[in-house]
C-alpha cells in the first residue's frame, strides 16, 4: 500500500502531528495502566503475601487497610472447624512514629504471626525464621527518607513504645501516603493497644482432603457474625474497594480512558482531514475501477501506519519515564503484557478513528472526475 505511505509522507507536518498524538495517547495509556496495575497489586498485596487459604474479618470490612478487631474466641472456634489445620493473625492500624531525631510521623503499623507466609513482611531473627526478633520493626526502602533513619539499626518509638528498626525490605512501598512499618502481631497489638488475644484478621489453612469451599462454608456456619472469605475473594474485594469505591481508582481509570479518547480524537481528526483533502483522488480511484475494499484499505492503512508509528514512539518514551516514575511512586507496576495491550488498543483506536474517513471515501461519487 504505497499510496497510503506516500499520502502520509507527502504532508509530513500532519503525519508528524498524528504520530505525536498517538504516541501521547499510548504513553498516557502505559502510564495510567501502570498506575492502575500497581494500585491493584498494592491493594491486595498483604492478603496475597500470606499463604493461608481463608481470611476471617469483622463483618463489612472492605479492605486490609481498614480492619476491625475480632474477639479472641473467633480464632479458637475457627481452629476447631474440621479441615482447618492451622490459624494465624494479622492486623493493620495507624500509629504515631517518633523518628530518631524526635519528630513525629503517622505510620501504618502492620503486624502478623510468623507463620503467615514467607512472602509476608515480618522481622525474622537471622537464621531462625520461626522466631521474630523482639521489639523489632522493618520498613520498605522507599520510606527511608520519610522515616529519617540515618543508619540501621535505629531506636525509635511507636505509640510511645520502644522499637528497633533492623533492616529494610523491598516491594512493600505503600500507596496510602504514609510509610508502613512491619512487626510481629504481638508487638503490633501491644503498640496499637488491642485487648489481649483479640485479632483483627484470622487466617486459616485448609488441610487435605478438605476443600477450601467446604471449609469456608463450615466456618460461615460456625461464625455467622463475621465475614469468611477465601484469600482470592478478600484480595478481589480489597482491590474493588480501592479501585471502584474510592475516587483514587476511578481517577486512574478515567485518565486511562481519557488517554484512549484523546488519541482517538487526534487520529480521527487528522485522518479525516487527510481524507477530505484527498477526496478527489479517492473519486479518481473509484472511477478507475478500484473496489470499495481497495479504497477502504488505503484509508485504514494510513490510520494504522500512524497508529503503529505513534505507539512505537509512545512505548519507547514510556520505558525511561516509567523507570523514573518508579523512583517517585514505588508501587507503580508495568505488567509485561501491558505494552502489548496498549499496542492493540492503539491500533484499535486508529481503526475506529478511520471509520468516518472510510465512509467519506466510499461515499464519494466517482462521476465527479469529469468535473474539471
Amino acid at each position: 500500500m504505497k499510496l497510503a505511505w506516500q499520502n502520509l509522507l507527502h504532508d509530513r507536518g500532519r503525519f508528524l502531528t498524528t504520530v505525536l498524538g498517538v504516541s501521547f495517547a499510548a504513553f498516557l495509556m502505559v502510564f495510567q495502566g501502570s498506575l492502575l496495575g500497581g494500585f491493584l497489586r498494592a491493594a491486595s498485596r498483604f492478603i496475597e503475601a500470606s499463604d493461608f487459604d481463608i481470611w476471617i474479618t469483622a463483618r463489612g470490612v472492605q479492605a486490609f487497610e481498614f480492619g476491625a478487631t475480632l474477639e479472641a474466641r473467633v480464632q479458637e472456634l475457627a481452629s476447631g472447624v474440621p479441615g482447618v489445620v492451622e490459624t494465624g493473625r494479622a492486623c493493620m492500624a495507624f500509629a504515631v512514629y517518633r523518628k530518631p531525631n524526635g519528630k513525629q510521623q503517622v505510620v501504618a503499623l502492620v503486624g502478623a504471626d510468623p507463620n503467615l507466609g514467607k512472602r509476608f513482611p515480618i522481622p525474622e531473627v537471622a537464621e531462625r525464621p520461626e522466631d521474630i526478633s523482639p521489639e523489632s520493626v522493618i520498613y520498605d526502602e522507599s520510606d527511608r527518607s520519610v522515616l529519617e533513619t540515618l543508619s540501621l539499626p535505629a531506636r525509635v518509638e511507636i505509640n510511645g513504645h520502644r522499637a528497633n528498626i533492623d533492616h529494610e525490605i523491598r516491594g512493600f512501598g505503600g500507596f496510602l501516603g504514609v510509610p508502613a512499618l512491619f512487626t510481629s502481631y504481638r508487638n503490633a497489638a501491644h503498640d496499637l493497644g488491642f485487648p489481649p488475644n483479640e485479632g483483627m484478621y484470622i487466617v486459616a489453612r485448609v488441610g487435605k482432603p478438605y476443600s477450601v469451599a467446604d471449609v469456608q462454608q463450615s466456618l460461615r456456619q460456625r461464625l455467622p457474625e463475621v465475614d469468611v472469605l477465601t484469600r482470592e475473594q478478600f484480595a478481589h474485594k480489597s482491590r474493588m474497594y480501592w479501585v471502584i469505591k474510592t475516587g483514587a481508582g476511578s481517577a486512574i481509570l478515567t485518565a486511562a480512558v481519557l488517554g484512549f479518547l484523546i488519541g482517538l480524537v487526534v487520529v480521527s481528526q487528522t485522518i479525516f482531514a487527510n481524507t477530505m483533502e484527498n477526496i478527489e483522488e479517492y473519486a479518481t480511484l473509484k472511477a478507475l475501477g478500484a473496489s470499495r475494499g481497495f479504497v477502504a484499505r488505503v484509508v485504514i492503512m494510513e490510520s494504522l501506519i500512524c497508529g503503529a508509528g505513534g505507539t512505537a514512539l509512545g512505548l519507547a518514551a514510556a520505558i525511561p519515564a516509567m523507570r523514573y516514575a518508579r523512583s517517585l511512586i514505588p508501587w507503580i507496576h508495568t505488567p509485561s503484557w501491558l505494552p502489548v495491550i496498549v499496542m492493540v488498543l492503539s491500533l484499535l483506536m486508529c481503526a475506529l478513528a478511520s471509520i468516518a474517513s472510510v465512509r467519506s471515501s466510499l461515499a464519494v461519487d466517482p462521476g465527479r472526475v469529469f468535473r474539471a
Binding site: 499510496l3 506516500q6 499520502n7 509522507l9 483522488e281 472511477a287 475501477g289 473496489s291 462521476g367 469529469f370
Partner: protein
C-alpha cells in the same frame, strides 16, 4: 441490428428537481464502433460529458439502456460497474487526475494494481509504458514536476495499463499547448490503429476531427449531427 459493444439507447438523464431541473440527455441513442476513434463535440451544456459518464459506468440513465463491451450496464450494482471499469475502460481526464503524492511510475503502477493486485511485474510494465511515451527520464518525478503534456502522457499510460479495450477521454487536450495537444491526438489515434482500441473523445478542440473516424455533434442533449470522417 446495431452493434452493442459500446452504446446508449434512448438514454434520458436529468439533474435537479422542479424548476431547477436540467435535462442533460433527451433520448439519445448512439453506438460506438469497435476499433474506431469517435469524437463527441458540442457546445457547453450539450450533454457531452454526461454521455461519457454513461459510457464510463459512472452515471445511470433515468431511462434508456447502456452497453459496455456488450454488457447491459443498467442491471449492474456499484461493485459490478467498478469491476467493468477496471477491466474494460481506461479514462483520460482534462485535469489529468494523477495522484499527487505518487511518482509517474507509481501512478501507472497504481493503475495496474487496481486492475490486478497480484500482477508480479507491475513495475516493469509501467516502466515500459512510460518509456514508450517518451517519459523514461521522468519516471520518478511527481506530477508537480511534470509539464501538462507530460502529465497527460502519464495519465494515458495509466489508462492503458491493464490493456482495457475501451478508452474514454474527456477534453484530453484542453489543458495543453498546440504541440502537446497534437502529440496526445496522435497517441490516441495510434492506440486505435496499432492496438485496435475503441476510443471515445469528448472535446471542443476541432483538431481532433482530423484524427477521428467519426464525429457526433450534440446540442441540447440530443444528437444534432453525426458523420463518418472519410479522410481518417
Amino acid at each position: 441490428m446495431p452493434d452493442k459493444f459500446l452504446a446508449v439507447e434512448d438514454a434520458h438523464v436529468s439533474f435537479g428537481n422542479g424548476d431547477a431541473q436540467v435535462r442533460a440527455l433527451r433520448g439519445i441513442s448512439a453506438s460506438f464502433e469497435r476499433g474506431a476513434l469517435s469524437l463527441v463535440m458540442g457546445p457547453s451544456g450539450s450533454g457531452k460529458t454526461t454521455l461519457l459518464s454513461l459510457l464510463g459506468c459512472l452515471l445511470s440513465p433515468d431511462d434508456g439502456t447502456v452497453f459496455v463491451d456488450g454488457v447491459l450496464v443498467n442491471a449492474l450494482n456499484g461493485e459490478q460497474k467498478a469491476a467493468l471499469r477496471r477491466t474494460k475502460i481506461g479514462f483520460v481526464f482534462q485535469s489529468f487526475r494523477l495522484l499527487h503524492s505518487l511518482s509517474a511510475l507509481d501512478n501507472v503502477c497504481l493503475g495496474l494494481e487496481i486492475r490486478d493486485p497480484k500482477q508480479p511485474e507491475r513495475m516493469t510494465t509501467a516502466r515500459e509504458l512510460l518509456v514508450h511515451f517518451g517519459l523514461g527520464d521522468k519516471l520518478n518525478h511527481e506530477p508537480d514536476g511534470l509539464s501538462p503534456g507530460e502529465k497527460q502522457r502519464v495519465a494515458i499510460a495509466r489508462a492503458l495499463a491493464g490493456k482495457p479495450p475501451i478508452l474514454l477521454a474527456d477534453e484530453p487536450t484542453a489543458s495543453l499547448d498546440a504541440e502537446a495537444g497534437r502529440n496526445i491526438c496522435q497517441i490516441l489515434r495510434n492506440q486505435v490503429e496499432q492496438h485496435g482500441k475503441t476510443v471515445v473523445v469528448v472535446s471542443h478542440d476541432s483538431r481532433w476531427q482530423e484524427y477521428a473516424h467519426r464525429t457526433i455533434i450534440l446540442s441540447d442533449g440530443q444528437i444534432k449531427h453525426q458523420e463518418q470522417v472519410t479522410n481518417s
